[in-house]
Symmetry: C2
Subunit: 364 residues, 2 copies
């Protein structure tokens, strides 16, 4: 396997010294930044995550900052979600779409003030889309990428570890809500969120200089909790049905196809609303489904077609062996003709044909 070449263009993060010292074995690049993908092994990392607590360098969840008198107006244009209902301490999952309803990104949006938002983006320069719209309409907003690097603390012991560093106030944070909590004299946004279903937090570390002190504080406080460096885990996230934008869903997909229709509830004439009206009324023609793949599978590094004879009926773009559930767990986009749970479909992988079986629900 080839190594990754770091550069200023594919940036290191404020936590890179900690990540390297912890023995990171693999990276991906995400939003022009390094994102660890493995420490011990994906299997061992998953098992540890489910029992203990991990600290994840997810700096690559860059923030698109939208700030100014027209911030809410811009948010209402690009968000299918009803921004007027958003409360001051809330995190909103927002599947942003183009004029045809095709997904552009799926950020978690944080409202810092009525005229100030952060969109914590998946892999893609959504700020360029926002900037294009704001520029063309002459909106009074600043759009940029602030010096904010999220650090996730995930796993069943996350509450205990976070309480030791940020105080018991963290325990009161509700799911997809945040509090501003102090660390070394600075207040950070601390949200109950993160890309696992093991529970935990994301700390929006504002100011790169605070990165390693916070990293060290968490590791120093968590020795007896068996805290380790971790990262978004490909086994746990597929078992949990957490979708990866760019792999499981892309611009050719609508939020309805991705099971995200409930987030398209804005009463405003947002961009893409008219295009989504048909699917809002009658549902999509294809949908994300959990899939079990029979037999041995190799690494899933590209889109695997689901076929019925010579007809394309969907694809799988994430698949991995799950030691916990004893099957190959996968995420597929499946056409209506084949999406009934129990349907068996031929899957064309780069390692040969396999049989895929549509499931009723994800594993957690």
């Amino acid at each position: 396997m080839a190594v990754i070449t770091p550069s200023r263009r594919v940036r290191k993060t404020p936590f890179s010294p900690g990540v390297e010292a912890a023995g990171v074995k693999a990276y991906t690049a995400y939003n022009h930044m390094l994102l660890p993908t493995m420490f011990e092994s994906v299997e061992a990392d998953a098992a540890h995550l489910k029992r203990h607590v991990q600290v994840w360098d997810v700096s690559c969840e860059r923030q698109v900052e939208i700030r100014g008198p027209d911030a809410l107006r811009l948010m209402k244009l690009i968000s299918p979600r009803d921004m007027d209902r958003m409360e001051a301490d809330q995190c909103y999952y927002v599947p942003t779409v183009d004029a045809r309803g095709g997904m552009l990104n799926d950020p978690v949006t944080i409202k810092l003030a009525d005229d100030h938002y952060w969109m914590s983006v998946a892999d893609g320069d959504l700020w360029q889309y926002a900037l294009g719209i704001a520029t063309a309409l002459g909106l009074e907003v600043e759009i940029g990428e602030p010096d904010v690097s999220p650090l996730a603390v995930q796993g069943p012991k996350a509450d205990e570890l976070m309480a030791r560093v940020f105080g018991d106030a963290v325990r009161e944070i509700r799911f997809f809500r945040y509090k501003r909590l102090p660390f070394e004299g600075r207040d950070f946004v601390v949200a109950r969120s993160g890309w696992s279903k093991q529970g935990g937090y994301e700390i929006y570390v504002e100011g790169a200089d605070y990165g390693m002190p916070l990293w060290n504080a968490l590791f120093g406080a968590g020795l007896d909790l068996n805290v380790r460096a971790g990262c978004p885990n490909n086994i746990e996230r597929i078992e949990s049905g957490l979708l990866s934008f760019g792999s499981d869903m892309r611009r050719e997909n609508t939020p309805y196809e991705c099971g995200l229709g409930r987030f398209c509830n804005s009463p405003e004439p947002y961009i893409g609303k008219a295009a989504l009206a048909e699917q809002a009324a009658h549902g999509p023609d294809r949908i994300i489904r959990p899939i079990v793949i029979e037999g041995d599978i190799g690494a899933c590094t590209e889109s695997w077609p689901l076929v019925d004879g010579s007809r394309w009926v969907g694809q799988v773009a994430s698949a991995v062996w799950s030691p916990e559930f004893g099957v190959n767990v996968a995420i597929g986009m499946v056409e209506k003709s084949h999406w009934t749970p129990g349907t068996r479909i031929e899957l064309q992988t780069e390692h040969g044909p396999r049989m895929a079986v549509v499931q009723d629900k994800f594993w957690r």
Copy 2:
């Protein structure tokens, strides 16, 4: 060094089987795609490139396709360059900017027809900016990413190799011009361009299925020319003063700072024109300069500050040992106070302080 984890999100290319078979040792990610960075070693790859001919998988130079009745109108909005002067077979280097004149990308634009352009982009989702503007203004254009994967043929023997595969017509292609030339019954855009100064071509391979047949045809025809798989080479490109968007220049820089002022000649009121007027008249306050760094340097994987006492006077973001010129060659962005050739400036690297010396010109 950690390995890179491939996925559908960080895509393989139509040439990946050839690249892997050739023994690629390192990759970077570029436009959500794998880009090889090393085969034998960066030094050996550079030496070979300067003597023979290499085939480069630069599929990651994705095309932003702009097509439709308003295509030229959109191009005139986002291009500082005079699009009316562009001829039908021309490639235009276009430093695109935001409303403040900050660089968003530096694509090579190809005019396929009056209503049809490809922008071969550096690392960044420029299509999202174009889409935002087109959407907000209601322009009649389609903006997307076609199935086009550039393959570069670079080196002093590139003309000979290309003539064997595409015929002697390739020899008549002028610099930054293109011809449509047939391969296996399909016409491809073949341009005299590429990210080295060793001469050569870029073939815009339309249709992923043609990738490996063309790869194999080039290698089959070039055995006696010592053809090898290669990639943009960090030594050769720094010696040549070829700038990497994202490393050497970013949104905080204007085209004038990057020595690209001559490409800002549009008579139209393009976005950013007003902001650039001051620099157009009086020049920038900092500029890209060739730099020699004294002593041993380690890998340059981040931005190294140039300092005068406690004052920041620029930075270096690309630096490497040049066996040919016997110095550490580097690219810096240097403030006016220190940009005179011969100026010695302290450079703060992650490996300790070094002395940087401003040069008059790049090495070729």
